[in-house]
């Protein structure tokens, strides 16, 4: 936590003499539909000089530049996909807060599915064991438990 805060503060000093707000009034597009698209897209884009902030949240000058650039592309008639492709071509994969599904992100994206499959398999293996023994505690175990509880209370 401390580290991140120190960095946030540092970023604050270095990048913004006085931290402004994220999306500022002068950036907002006149067309609400386009503006809504711009907001959705900017939540997916990383402010690359910040610590884990999207350009939608960040007050850094770079984030502002990117927000304006993004809105210019949208106003020029680009689709969401085209805007993203343009930005990735320019800044690399690092700008995407949601990494693309690609060979190098295979493990990342498949983890939830694989873990669920593994869990289901393990659960199945446990459940498949036939109920042979009836009681959970054998009589000997139960006695031992009682004895333990007794002796430790002395």
């Amino acid at each position: 936590m401390r580290k991140r805060l120190a960095l946030l503060a540092l970023a604050g000093i270095l990048l913004a003499g006085s931290p402004a707000l994220a999306v500022e009034p002068d950036e907002v597009l006149a067309d609400p539909a386009l503006e809504a698209r711009a907001r959705d897209l900017s939540a997916e884009l990383r402010c690359m000089v910040c610590q884990n902030q999207s350009i939608d949240d960040s007050s850094a000058p770079l984030a502002k530049d990117l927000r304006i650039l993004l809105r210019e592309r949208i106003s020029a008639g680009d689709t969401d996909e085209q805007v993203m492709t343009f930005l990735v071509a320019r800044y690399g994969d690092f700008i995407l807060l949601r990494p693309r599904f690609a060979p190098y992100t295979l493990v990342l994206w498949l983890t939830p599915v694989l873990m669920l499959a593994l869990g289901a398999y393990a659960a199945f293996a446990v459940l498949r064991r036939r109920p042979r023994a009836e009681a959970a505690l054998t009589e000997a175990e139960r006695q031992r438990l009682d004895r333990l509880l007794k002796e430790d209370t002395q």
Partner: protein, 659 residues
């Protein structure tokens, strides 16, 4: 002089911890009672010495002893007293000292309250605790000594990071550390059981209160950190999937799974091996969290590589404890007797499902957090894994879990009847439909997902109430009878109810504040035109300068008038701390019912023109009220006679047959 004594006390504590680990293990494996009896005394003495060292550091901060480098770097004589004290752990060295202090506190608690444990198990637990303490004390002494002197001593310090000068952050780290480090007890019990080679339901009964306590602190710490980020960082978010947050969230997920699996083990003697593994993993994730936050690896792999002393040391500790315990597990676990058998549809089955989903969610967060680091280290390729990824993967894993939560407590152990449980949940289902319809009507049917989310939240709340209601035969028996029955419930029934209910309450807040928040960004001038936010009229009243003890700020005073003519004032500010010159944004929040108005200001120009961002966040406070319910539930469970630590006689008298 005091600082040197503090330093010396740390060294003594290290020796004591080493003795506790070594002699304890030796005594336990030889079965020598006299050797074993050394361990508890060593644990208590260790707490005394670390406590002394910590008190010395606090004293240095309170008296602004600038002959200590650590105090110079993180304090200032003009700082308010509470932040002088909190500054003790607002830095790397001090927070590591707090970490070992809390570790010693837990070790000493086992020594003091573990009278009902078999001596061998207790000694082994203390021995493992001692080993962890020795390792981390060595880390503090060798790489992070808070008692380093500086010569000549400067007249004034550099002050604490302004973002940390906040009451929320003063309490957040101790709570979180109590949670992180509390997980070490379950870990120590697991390793002790593996060394001992025997484990039974009694083991789970001893472990559960400690895990529950750790879970409570983690819950409180995470919730508090989230609220702090919400009001202090100034952009109104409450969870960012930041690696540092994930570092605390992973142990929480694992500890939640552990609480549930230990329940199966205690009641039914099943899932033993899995519970042991989970106990190991939970603390491993806590250690991983400490590594991530403390090593600098999160900033960048390069920052880690350029100053690796501390990072490599913690990494070595990490490898030793996680690798060692997992190796021991691989070696010993197969020898443990497998536990009881149960049908797929049963309380156990439901808890297995709970564990499956929580573990998958935890693994997703783990991989998402570490993937960019690993990818960069291995291939040099830079990618980001941010909130959109986690929302897309973690979310879908949580939905089935939340849907199934109300079923769990209604299923019988061993073999349950899902139809009977379903029949009992008809009321909860009706409540969910009603809530969804109400939400649709109130919001003009905006956002189908959000409306379903509200339904799910109501399902959780009503579902949580269902089990106690049926158990008390509410509306079936006369009210007096029901109340009498309810009075006789074991506390853990209430505990379960409140914990599950809290989940639903938090979900209400999450869904409503995410889906129906409004955001208004405007440039306003004092006395200028008004704007409308959430049915209220907002005007910028005035801009005024103000001075605090160690900062000066420019306050923008807003007047907010609601439809009924009632007026409130909000005063967000731009603040500059004199020493560091860091500008910060101080938001101001008005709580209206469960909802909040959130004001944050940007640039304030010379002529008074102020950029302001105003959020209306419906039901947002429920996000943190939910965890309060969970904490209440945890406390009730913890106070259950059957689980109480250190009340063995009564425990036995009050044991009721497992339901």
């Amino acid at each position: 002089m005091f600082a040197e004594l503090g330093h010396y006390a740390l060294v003594l504590a290290f020796v004591l911890a080493a003795v506790q680990a070594g002699v304890g293990y030796w005594g336990a494996t030889r079965g020598d009672g006299r050797l074993m009896s050394i361990a508890p005394s060593a644990a208590l003495m260790q707490l005394l010495f670390i406590g002394f060292a910590f008190a010395v550091l606090v004293r240095a901060y309170v008296t602004s002893d600038f002959s200590l480098l650590n105090v110079v770097e993180n304090s200032h004589s003009a700082k308010p007293l509470v932040f002088k004290i909190a500054g003790t752990w607002g830095n790397h060295e001090g927070s590591m000292l707090l970490w070992v202090l809390i570790l010693a506190l837990f070790g000493a608690s086992v020594a003091a309250f573990g009278a009902n444990l078999p001596q061998k198990l207790k000694t082994l637990v203390l021995s493992v605790q001692g080993l962890i303490a020795a390792a981390f004390l060595l880390f503090v002494i060798l790489t992070s000594n808070p008692f380093t002197r500086i010569l000549p001593a400067p007249f004034e310090g550099n002050d604490l990071n302004p973002l940390l000068q906040d009451i929320g952050l003063a309490i957040h780290p101790p709570l979180l550390y109590l949670g992180y480090v509390g997980c070490s007890i379950a870990f120590a019990f697991a390793v002790a059981a593996l060394i001992d080679g025997r484990i039974d339901a009694a083991w789970a009964r001893w472990v559960r209160p400690w895990t529950l306590a750790a879970w409570l602190f983690l819950t409180a710490g995470i919730a508090m950190g989230s609220y702090w980020a919400y009001y202090e960082l100034g952009w109104g978010g409450w969870w960012f999937w930041d690696p540092v947050e994930n570092a605390s969230f992973m142990p929480w997920l694992a500890a939640t799974a552990l609480l549930h699996s230990a329940l199966v083990m205690e009641k039914r003697d099943a899932l033993k091996i899995w519970t042991i593994l989970l106990a190991i993993l939970t603390f491993s994730l806590s250690l991983l969290g400490t590594f991530l936050v403390r090593s600098g690896v999160l900033t960048s792999v390069h920052a880690f590589a350029s100053d690796p002393t501390r990072g490599v040391f913690i990494l070595a500790l990490l490898v030793f404890f996680i690798g060692g315990s997992l190796a021991l597990f691989a070696l010993r676990a197969p020898a443990l007797a497998p536990g009881g058998i149960f049908a797929p549809i049963s309380r156990e089955g439901a808890l297995v499902l709970n564990n499956m989903l929580l573990t998958a969610a935890c693994a997703t967060v783990l991989v998402g957090t570490l993937y960019p680091l690993a990818l960069e280290a291995l291939t040099g390729r830079l990618i980001s894994v941010g909130p959109p990824f986690f929302n897309l993967t973690f979310g879908p894993l949580m939905i089935p879990l939340l849907l199934l939560v109300p079923f769990g407590p209604l299923l019988a152990w061993k073999r349950g009847d899902v139809y009977a449980a379903g029949q009992r949940l008809v009321f909860a289902f009706g409540a969910a439909i009603l809530a969804a319809l109400a939400a649709a009507a109130l919001t003009g049917a905006r956002g189908v997902l959000a409306i379903l989310g509200i339904g799910l939240a109501a399902w959780l709340v009503a579902g949580a109430l269902t089990e106690p209601a049926f158990r008390a035969k509410l509306f079936q028996a006369p009210l007096g009878d029901s109340l009498r029955r309810a009075y006789g419930f074991p506390r853990s029934v209430w505990g379960t109810m409140f914990a599950h209910l809290g989940l639903g309450v938090a979900l209400f807040g999450i869904v409503a504040s995410t889906a129906w928040q409004t955001e208004t960004v405007a440039a306003m001038r004092p006395g200028g035109e008004s704007i409308q936010v959430a049915g209220r009229t907002v005007v910028l009243d005035s801009i005024l300068p103000r001075n605090g003890p160690n900062y000066s700020e420019t306050v923008a005073r807003f007047a907010v008038t609601d439809a009924g003519g009632r007026q409130i004032f909000l005063e967000p500010a731009k603040r500059v701390y004199a020493v560091r010159g860091t500008p910060t944004t101080e938001s101001d929040i008005a709580t209206i019912g469960f909802s909040q108005l959130y004001f944050s200001v940007g640039d304030i120009l010379m002529d008074g023109t102020t950029t302001v961002r105003i959020y209306w966040k419906p039901l947002v406070t429920l996000i943190w009220i939910g965890p309060l319910f969970m904490i209440l539930g945890g406390l009730l469970s913890l106070s259950d006679r059957r689980l109480r630590v250190g009340a063995p006689r009564r425990t036995r008298a009050a044991v009721v047959p497992a339901e």
